[in-house]
Symmetry: C2
């Protein structure tokens, strides 16, 4: 007869299958599923989410969790299993408080809202998205209140994406940053602009895809443990340790956007691929600290990718793939990718203004969860904050409130992770250089991916 | 309270969700899943196949089928539902005779075998595939014997792919064909060869993808109800009526291969997309007559795609996408795509030799199911038959027995469908011209896709 731990592991493995197909369904919906197939995909997402919900709230699962939590058994578990039991208990209790019908309906509303957002973004038409966003906001509030009836909903969300983090800390560190950055940005604005005209031109999309492939390989992405696709917004999906996928979004007149998205998502993916497979099916495999996750992607993107030394070993290769680059001296290219200039799109922002893009979203999320702003007022509020923080105003909602997918699927509380990650990065860089010496020397020698992985 | 028919429809809808994710898992495995993610995909396929098997053999399902088969209820059903009940009963009874453990294991063996075949084909190494093929053959025999203990297994397989068809009819019509084709091929072989050198060269893969996209649109493939991807062997996948996907396989030195695969798979897809959505979840949606299905793909490929008139409206466009084509006069191109020449690869064969490729496979399948040929002997047998029928001998198994994916997943009995389909096509052409006039006139006027669809 199997003991409780063995039964628990079987149960985790069973629950994992639902995770697997739901992740795949979402991946497919964002990368390939055609318009007329959405309904069938939604049906499947709805059906399997509900089945998964039933497994996560089943009495037999609760019983195993209680048994494994008893000190004599709990103390005998390894660390990963202890964490899995702890998280499992917390989530089991939270989920038991959610009515199944609400959960199904919330899942469906989010999936539909994601699709509506894609359409709205392409058409730059907020009205297409507004009714969906309104539902998602109100149901996310309910969702969190079901799980933690006593807590402040936004605090629960922040903790879900970065365990242990709260708005008190974020208010403080973002406040300090804002205070330092606004005068810095003003000073930069008064200095002469770098000349970016050298990069102007058209860049073949097929060639940009080859650049992405080259960059991923260069930084150490394992192609036997991942895949690439296109989507409206770049993202990373972890099906399992051996299958971490990245997407990108290409623009013919701007190769830099896809280049830095490739490096950013590549950073996420390398982190996912680097998890030891002994942790499969445990809570360790799914990192609940998105600040930490973003610190990895943004480390590759900014701390490494914006350095001259990062490009030294591959600049000729880049020129072979994008012939126009052959006309641009490396120093001009490096100045261009480091130019600081207020702009509309977060994912294309420089290191200075990026922080302000995140602060804007954080302030808006607090308004949404604690203030009484209506959905109709959100685009205006967004634009006002852009003017206040960055001194520019979006001409339309496509380059304003519609640019990010996060709110469409209820991921409120996620945005601060990016900036927290960037702040961790500063500390990581210091620690790394102390331990391994100059990052520039390492990069110039081409010791970044594979055996030379900086993570190794 | 719901009546039996409503409950039955709910149950069909539930079973359909498993179909949906299993189809998606297989699609992903053949198009995108990386090597190190295969195991996780296999786990999911295995888990959900078993769940699906349980649903298809559940007592409550059997009870509904029996109730709906009672004359007073059955007669009140519409035709589609009658067929669904009839098929459902047949399959329920067949599946009830299969042990669950066998079914799970068969599913897994087939999925692993598909992957092994891909590897073996790429390496042109039959030994990688042989142990898998051996298992698939022996388990397919068991599978069929469980379902129909009294019948000849190969007849059951033939009937599964083309309901009502048997080897007696196929022996006769294929025999007649062979008798007519062998002397014809000999005569063609003695005539002067058309000069194909004009097409020689390298064709950019990205450009070939654009050609595929253009062709699919031209023949009436609805892009809002489908998608395109790459795979080792071109195929069509129907997730649902609104989501029918095609793959292709590109060769830099041969654009014709991908062009005719695009038209062929496009024909399948248009047939799938054309099914009325009122038949969703019923047996009508999944056509169990692959000969009929292949008649559609091969009609587009051969009856239409090999005609000069097919290319008249799009030949300039083709030249824009593949500049080399601009140097080739249309008549030279049309002669090239109609050249008859024994060659190794079925999917690239001309209309005359194609038939012999199928007859070869049919004869081999009869040997496998009725003779006592061992797996080790199969490559030699293949090569001998190639010499006998086509007068050429493969230099390696990659261009021999490993070229097709069908046997890797147990689809024995499928191959005859292609040739049956081609024979139906001759009759369809006659009927079509009687009803709508000259096909050449229709094609030259560009009236093929969309509103002008020949199917409309």
């Amino acid at each position: 007869m199997k003991n409780t731990l063995e039964e628990f592991k079987d149960y985790l493995h069973r629950m994992r299958q639902y995770d697997h197909v739901l992740t795949l369904l979402h991946w497919d919906l964002s990368t390939l599923a055609p318009e007329k197939g959405v309904e069938a995909h939604m049906n499947a997402i709805n059906y399997f989410s509900t089945e998964q919900f039933r497994l996560s709230t089943a009495e037999e699962y609760g019983k195993m969790l209680r048994e494994l939590s008893a000190p004599e058994l709990f103390d005998s578990l390894d660390e990963a299993m202890q964490l899995t039991v702890k998280r499992g208990r917390r989530d089991y209790e939270r989920f038991k408080r959610i009515p199944e019908e609400f959960y199904s309906s919330y899942t469906e509303v989010k999936a539909r809202s994601e699709r509506a957002w894609e359409k709205a973004k392409r058409a730059s038409d907020f009205s297409v998205f507004a009714p969906h966003l309104e539902k998602v906001i109100s149901m996310t509030k309910d969702f969190v209140r079901y799980m933690e009836p006593e807590a402040d909903p936004y605090e629960v969300l922040l903790d879900m994406y970065e365990e242990g983090m709260d708005s008190k800390v974020i208010d403080r560190v973002f406040g300090e940053l804002k205070e330092g950055l606004l005068p810095l940005l003003k000073k930069i604005g008064e200095s002469p602009r770098p000349d970016l005209s050298a990069l102007e031109g058209k860049y073949d999309i097929a060639a940009q895809k080859k650049v992405q492939s080259m960059l991923l390989e260069y930084i150490g992405f394992d192609k036997d443990a991942g895949a690439m696709a296109e989507s409206e917004h770049p993202f990373t999906t972890e099906l399992c340790i051996g299958d971490v996928r990245v997407t990108n979004h290409y623009k013919e007149e701007d190769p830099i956007s896809a280049i830095f998205s490739a490096i950013h998502e590549g950073g996420h993916a390398i982190f996912g691929q680097g998890i030891d497979s002994v942790y499969q099916d445990t809570a360790v495999e799914r990192v609940d600290m998105m600040g930490l996750h973003e610190s990895q992607s943004r480390f590759y993107e900014n701390i490494l990718g914006r350095r001259r030394s990062f490009w030294v070993p591959i600049y000729r290769k880049l020129g072979e793939l994008l012939p126009k680059v052959q006309e641009i001296p490396l120093d001009t290219f490096v100045r261009a990718i480091n130019a600081v200039q207020p702009s509309m799109i977060r994912t294309e922002a420089d290191e200075v203004t990026y922080c302000l893009h995140i602060i804007l979203r954080y302030e808006m999320e607090k308004e949404i969860f604690r203030g009484d702003v209506s959905v109709d007022q959100l685009p205006g509020l967004w634009n006002d904050k852009m003017e206040e923080l960055l001194g520019i105003r979006p001409r339309n909602d496509g380059e304003g409130i519609l640019q990010d997918m996060h709110w469409s699927d209820g991921s409120f509380g996620y945005f601060p992770s990016y900036l927290l990650g960037s702040m961790y990065d500063g500390m990581f860089l210091e620690a790394l250089e102390k331990e391994k010496g100059s990052v520039d020397a390492i990069l110039e020698a081409g010791r970044i991916g594979g055996d030379h992985s900086l993570a190794a």
